[in-house]
Symmetry: C2
């Protein structure tokens, strides 16, 4: 029997629900010396597992865990001099620690349905209680990172067992949200 | 009670399975005078309902019905002088009848997982028996054509009732196929 593919150390064996009262905390990078710290002064939303090749994830994880929070909730509080932007042309301007590589926050500044939101990785909170992930996005993209296509049934089944419905783009709610934004921008929808 | 949204006249009230022996036929545009005719000399695959805003669909339909066939199976046999390319820069080079607007075939010529395939609309076959659609793609995109986001639950439920699992991109099989093509091209997958 083949070794199961690790989705993510936080996910593989199930996970507890978050604390409904979670209202932010401090994200810390992986450096032991002068870690970057980013304060999130409010709740996070749309936490999910993501299979895209751009999101930061721990070594050996196949999926990242990623959520959003309004940009005004995000402030760098320590060692921000270690931050660099991964790809200034990307929609999500991911800011990573140049020493340990952990992505600390990624604002969407461009005109887009997600403008004004920052993407963050809740597993970097030093606090517990952040809302648990509720779906899996960009699942087919893990093949682009080297997962053999023959393993996809088992990966999707594992995600479903964990309550993380797998999608190859975002969830229907978010895809509808993006489409509605596009329709309002084009004038097709007016409300 | 709101009037249900018509998915497509061929779909709304259920549909029969195709003939497993279907091996092609003739696509005919909607003109009564000098209709364009395109011969498909072989089977078709991946037939599905598509909610994207680019695919041709009959008036009042919300989804198109679209499938693929290898390009070498496609030949224009009558009135090809009426064909024009909708958008020469698009991945799918859709050829439509400039009089009635029906899209007759759309080859993918660019380097892509679908290169060598032509997209066609099986409902334009003058013959019956073409394989029935088996899923629905780009469902959220119907909002971009003006469907109110509040109707999406009912649209997705209707598609599921018809056996057409709704996806907001392509089906998992096709998304995996595209990802595997990308992974081979980048060298991440070698087999």
């Amino acid at each position: 029997m083949e070794t199961p593919i690790s989705l993510h150390p936080w996910l593989d064996n199930g996970f507890a629900k978050g604390d409904p009262g979670f209202s932010g905390g401090t994200l810390v990078c992986a450096c032991t010396d002068r870690p970057v710290k980013v304060r999130i002064s409010g709740g996070i939303a749309h936490n999910h597992a993501c299979g895209c090749t751009k999101c930061w994830k721990p070594a050996d994880a196949t999926f990242s865990i990623v959520a959003v929070t309004p940009h005004e909730n995000v402030s760098v509080i320590e060692n921000g001099d270690k931050l660099e932007i991964v790809d200034p042309t990307a929609l999500i301007r991911r800011h990573r620690c140049r020493e340990c590589g952990v992505h600390m926050y990624g604002p969407v500044e461009r005109e887009h349905a997600f403008q004004g939101l920052d993407f963050i990785h809740p597993e970097r909170f030093q606090e517990r209680g952040w809302p648990e992930p509720t779906f899996a996005a960009f699942v087919s993209s893990i093949i682009e990172a080297g997962v053999d296509p023959s393993r996809m049934n088992s990966v999707r089944n594992h995600l479903r067992q964990l309550g993380l419905e797998p999608y190859d783009c975002l969830s229907p709610d978010l895809m509808d949200f993006i489409a509605a934004w596009t329709a309002k921008k084009s004038g097709v929808l007016t409300q």
